[in-house]
Amino acid sequence: MNSDIYREKLIHKGAEANLYYGQWFNKKVIFKRRVPKRYRLEELDKRIRTERTLNEARALIRAKNYGVNIPQVYEIDVQNSTIVMKYIEGEKLKKILRTLDNNKKEEYFKKIGRDIAILHKNGHIHGDITTSNLIITQNEDIFIIDFGLHENSDKIEDKSVDLHLFKRVLISSHGKDYEVCFNAFIQGYISECEKENKNECNLIIKNINAIETRGRYVKSEDRL
């Protein structure tokens, strides 16, 4: 292996990919490697890992064009289904949320709402907005990470689903803070998205409720 590029340590083992911390030409980086899954046919496995690696890398690169903080991609190694990207120093929002006062929470979630609206406006659906996929740096920049489930879409439906999933995450993982956070988030989202198209913005927000009642076999009064 090139001595300018090396993995130092495994920092996270996910169901799909392993994250390694390391160096890449004197830069601190993350190696996100989609590991082979031996339960599936090699041919199928290779196809899935390649597709997903390319999708994610493309998404990271494209979504970075609009002023939202997203890790820079340095290298894509399709052979090893690995993406090398900038290491973001900071804490996961999930970890520090409880320590924040309400003003800070509102400030952060408004900002997150605006960022997501900017991505949506440009046709990027993150697909997995969670508090683990948001990193707060020392100078309080908010980074959006993990574009593994990203999709390109301009559909109102897809945007609403993205918001709905975040709502579910907030309820299940941060029940007590849910209201403050989600309200601020939606406020931020609307402030950005109504600049473009007020009508569509209203439809996106309204559609969140429709989605909640749509789950398989769910009666409207039983969902959430």
Partner: protein
């Protein structure tokens, strides 16, 4: 004499009666399975068969168990989810027996029963369950008082998908076992759509693509039915295994349970066992007899609920064809 429960399963193609005692020992299990000459399960035809046969099944279960109906202490029946016209028959029979014998009645959620019989028969405590059958495809685990659904199909259930494909290929219902056999004859993979959304699955696109392979001009030239069956299985089962692994990583359970009719498939067992080992989790498949729909699992779950909170009033025994398992609390389980 030990207390006895008679459990009635009647959600789809199987009308089944199981008799067991309150410790879980099984005295008898009699199944009557609707087999269409062509096509799939037409609810009206299934209903007719069950209506004609239920009395015989109940009587056979009693005679095999060598007990009189008067010795039964509890009636349990499948209350949800399933085909409405079919669920009704089980409910009628249960209400009738309960009222004639003046004994308590308990309605049971069919999906929860699949998990509970697995916990009993595999002596497993707190599993992550992959429940795969003709009507359901669910990844579930016990969390905050309920069997939560971590992942599920967004459209077709896996068993339904395979059976439908088999039917398109000219095979008779049930197609699953036939597809499994054909797949063993092939090693040639034809790429098919693979759709996993987080922990949820979608099989409808896969089904359409596989169906198209059958009518393509390349069929029986570049590839044959065996290859299509093989590719369909490999793709669908890899999807199931992937979401199971995700749920396993998320819940950090130490046991994995495979149940439902499709659990009989050896290839699926192999794949789920593989990921269980990788996560140091114990892997169990529910014994075939109890993996498919059966009256024993209904009886056992009925016993658990009855012990925890007593029986249901007749008014509460209304069928719920679309009830989700995560809508129901599970008072007999509090550990975790």
């Amino acid at each position: 004499m030990k207390k006895l429960c008679l459990g009635i399963e009647s959600t789809a193609h199987t009308f089944s009666v199981g008799i067991l005692d309150f410790d879980g020992e099984v005295y008898s299990l009699i199944n009557d399975i609707f087999m269409p000459e062509e096509g799939g399960l037409h609810p009206a035809l299934v209903r007719e068969q069950h209506l004609n046969n239920f009395m015989k099944i109940v009587n056979r279960a009693l005679s095999v168990a060598k007990i009189s109906v008067k010795n039964i202490n509890l009636i349990a029946f499948s209350q949800s989810p399933g085909l409405g016209p079919v669920l009704k028959i089980g409910a009628w029979v249960a209400r009738m027996l309960s009222q004639v014998l003046v004994i308590p009645i308990v309605g049971v959620n069919h999906c929860i029963a699949h998990i509970e019989i697995g916990r009993l028969k595999c002596s497993i405590e707190d599993p992550l369950t992959l429940y795969v059958s003709g009507g359901n495809t669910i990844v579930s685990a016990f969390e905050s008082e309920r069997y939560q659904i971590f992942g599920e199909t967004l459209d077709l259930p896996i068993g339904n998908m395979i059976d439908s494909f088999a039917r398109d290929a000219g095979l008779q219902h049930p197609g699953g076992p036939k597809i499994e056999k054909l797949a063993l004859e092939s090693k040639k993979y034809i790429p098919l759509p693979y759709l996993v959304k987080g922990m949820d699955l979608s099989f409808s696109g896969l089904y359409t693509s596989a169906k198209k392979l059958l009518v393509s001009t390349d069929f029986n030239k570049k590839y044959n039915l065996n290859d299509t069956a093989y590719s369909l299985q490999e793709t669908a089962f890899a999807m199931l295994t992937e979401v199971t692994e995700r749920a396993l990583a998320h819940t950090e359970k130490k046991e994995v349970l495979l149940t439902g009719g499709v659990a009989a498939n050896k290839r699926l067992q192999q794949m789920v066992e593989y990921i269980s080992k990788e996560h140091n989790a114990r892997f169990e498949v529910v014994p075939l007899k109890y993996a498919g729909d059966n009256g024993v699992m209904i009886g056992w779950t009925g016993i658990l609920r009855y012990k925890a909170e007593g029986g249901h009033e007749i008014a509460e025994t209304i069928i719920k064809p679309k009830e989700r398992m995560d809508q129901i609390t599970v008072p007999w389980r509090s550990e975790n």
